[in-house]
Amino acid sequence: MDSPYAIEMLNITKRFPGIVANDNITLQLKRGEIHALLGENGAGKSTLMSVLFGLYQPEEGVIKKDGKEVKINDPNDANDLGIGMVHQHFKLVECFTVLDNIILGVEPNKYGVLQKDEARKKVIELSKKYGLMVDPDAKIEDITVGMQQRTEILKMLYRDNEILIFDEPTAVLTPQEIDELMQIMRNLKAEGKSILFISHKLAEIMAVADRCTILRKGKYIGTVETKGTTAQELSSLMVGRNVNFHIEKQPQKLGDVVLEINNMTVASKTHKNNAVKNVSLKVRAGEIVCIAGIDGNGQSEFVHGLTGLEPLVSGDIKLNGMDITKAPIRKRNTSGMSHIPEDRHKHGLVLDYSLENNLVLQTYFLPEFTSKAGFLKKDNIRHYAEKLIEEYDVRSGQGPVTMARAMSGGNQQKAIIAREIDKDPDLLVAVQPTRGLDVGAIEFVHKQLIDRRDSGKAVLLISLELDEVMDVPDRILVMYEGEIVGEFDPKKTTQEELGLYMAGAKRMEVRS
């Protein structure tokens, strides 16, 4: 145990046909530190982790544990070395209890009979020790995302893992839950665990990590102490250029009302109460209105009601003065509304369609792409796709014929944005358009939204990210439990004030 490093990956190179995913990358995780791994989508973070878990064998380079070279052939080897990981998408059995999930695979038994009592004791002990509050007998489907994540962490601790890897752990959490997670990570560190924290959220890295290794396009850029650096510097290391955090906007030129919603009420799918209650709002041409709020306060149902995915219980919607309350989705889409959906895999894309087919998903039926006899004009579709790919810099392995499934998340989102914005809609409904994207892509998306506004169109943004809420819109509406509880000018408010309204601690009468 003379080496200060718990795990070392030295000069790792991993090639795939046509691409070097990891080019001579070195990552050294000290015992008892929180080490961030920072990089954009496609920088090689996932490949590096797959190498660590034995899913890929590197062409060059060695892995050392406590200074001794080890060979990791499959995830079981990694487990034996005490390496555990919390995946971005949890691997939990929904209808099992927390305890059942924790012991899954390492069930304590005597002659094949489960011995849950010891397991429960150990789990309760662990959760006390690290401040991981979660009810061991609750079912996964009944608990919050934050608690599910704690279950995943307990899973690693139960297996006595020493090296804990967190893959984008904050992507699914509310601001409060993120704070709690940061505290948990500090507790784990204090108990001597070594943590590898994969992220592209700079503020979190600055807040919790000791050191940070940066990857860019498969190459090793460097390892820095977070104490001696700034978020600005990290981001330029990651992206390779200076990122403009400040968003340039032209002076506002307000136009006519584009969207008018009166007393909209939408039923909930999960409980008996209405998810959206009596919401009224207006969006004018030349402005970005943002609906802010903590996830699950009726934003999704509001958007579904607005875009026609779900029927309204009551209320009406006018688009450019035309009543679209009962209009079918196709009618809304062709009357000037575009919708960047919250879930790009569920709604936004047909993953097993090619990129070009996805790019015409909203327009394939127009005469430009379909002949009178009903045949697709494949040449036109190809040209159009090539044009969008060029204009919006959508990157993929084989261009227009790439399967959407094979594209990175950021480029999938770019494809959706290209498709929706190229329709030149009067109203763009953008729901969490930067979810899961890296800094460079976020900058791109924000610029597109501002361009819509500056060219005199209306944008309705639904966001959970407070930074985005403060920077992008001209007007903020806070939604709490299905109601609009506050209206703010982003220039005249603070994140703290918004937080109070988002948490339901304060409300004002809003009537637009």
Binding site: P17, E59, G218, H347, F375
Partner: protein, 376 residues
Amino acid sequence: MSKEKTNFFKKPGVQSLIASLICIILGLLIAFIVLLIINPQSAFSSISNIIKNFFWFKNPTSRLKYFGETLVKTVPLLMCALAVLFSYKVGLFNIGTPGQYCAGIVASLYAALKWQLGWIPCMLLAMIAGALLASIVGVLKAYLNVNEVISGIMLNWICLYFTNSTLTAVKNPSSKDTLTLASTNKGALLPTLGLDKLFKDKYVTIAIPIAILIAVIIMIVLDKTKFGYELKATGINKNAAKYCGMMEKSNIIVTLVISGALAGLGAAFYYLTDFEQWAVTSSTVPAMGFNGIAATFLGGLNPIGTIFSSYFITHITAGGAFVDLTKYSSQITDLISALIIYLCGFVLFMKTVMNNIIRKNEATKNENSKNEGGKN
């Protein structure tokens, strides 16, 4: 993105063909082994008789006649395979084809024998009957999210016994079969357009060219039209289809209706030739529907490939009759064809295996030529 030379074996068409051929060979091999175990002496002659089938006949006229009859029997299988394929491409597994095929039988025969209608209305009624039956599955799927496999299988049996009880009304009093069209209503027989003379077999009708034409049309509809684009999008991702304003519920129903109509039409294409009569005591659903699934996969999920795979399966099934029954029990015929058909369902698996082998080869090649670095 460097594309040197795309591996010949990486082309999807080539892969499907090779995978299908491997499955056929494996099936024959296993059948051969089974024969070998039961009776080693005549195993080789039996398996070669199965493959040779009518080519084994010395007389060229009877060879042609049997070829024609194999084609006649291929048509309903091809139609069922197309029905399965069409819904499968749209993300639905229509295992209700046997029932829809039955619906086609009852509609066409009842119309022909009881109502004395001509072949065109009989054919249309068969299509409508198949479509109606399938629409039940479609409505349940679209509006109540009932799994189409469950509701399809259940309806198969309901429809089988409905067919039996209905066709008893037009039964030949002296047998368990329905009356022949030749004796009752010649106007319901499908026209032959001289094909009967070509093959020296009166059962060879326009059903054969029409079925092939339908296969081509299905390929065009799925690949080249807006309709196909919508149906496939709905099949792959119902939510995305709804999001972009497609009528996702009616697309599901339309898909199954077309699929059912194809199966129903397949029944008309067979029973309106008078080649076979329906036995009203049948207690199993027609094998066509299930064999259609095997034919679909053996055909590489391609309508044109399905034509050949349907022919092959019919050929093998008929060839089973030429096993030497003095050496083997009479069930061996069905066992052998079942074995081969079963292996036909493994095409997708074979494709995966092939891809893994190709990938491994490439990986070793890459390791051998480390000096060659990639570009972004």
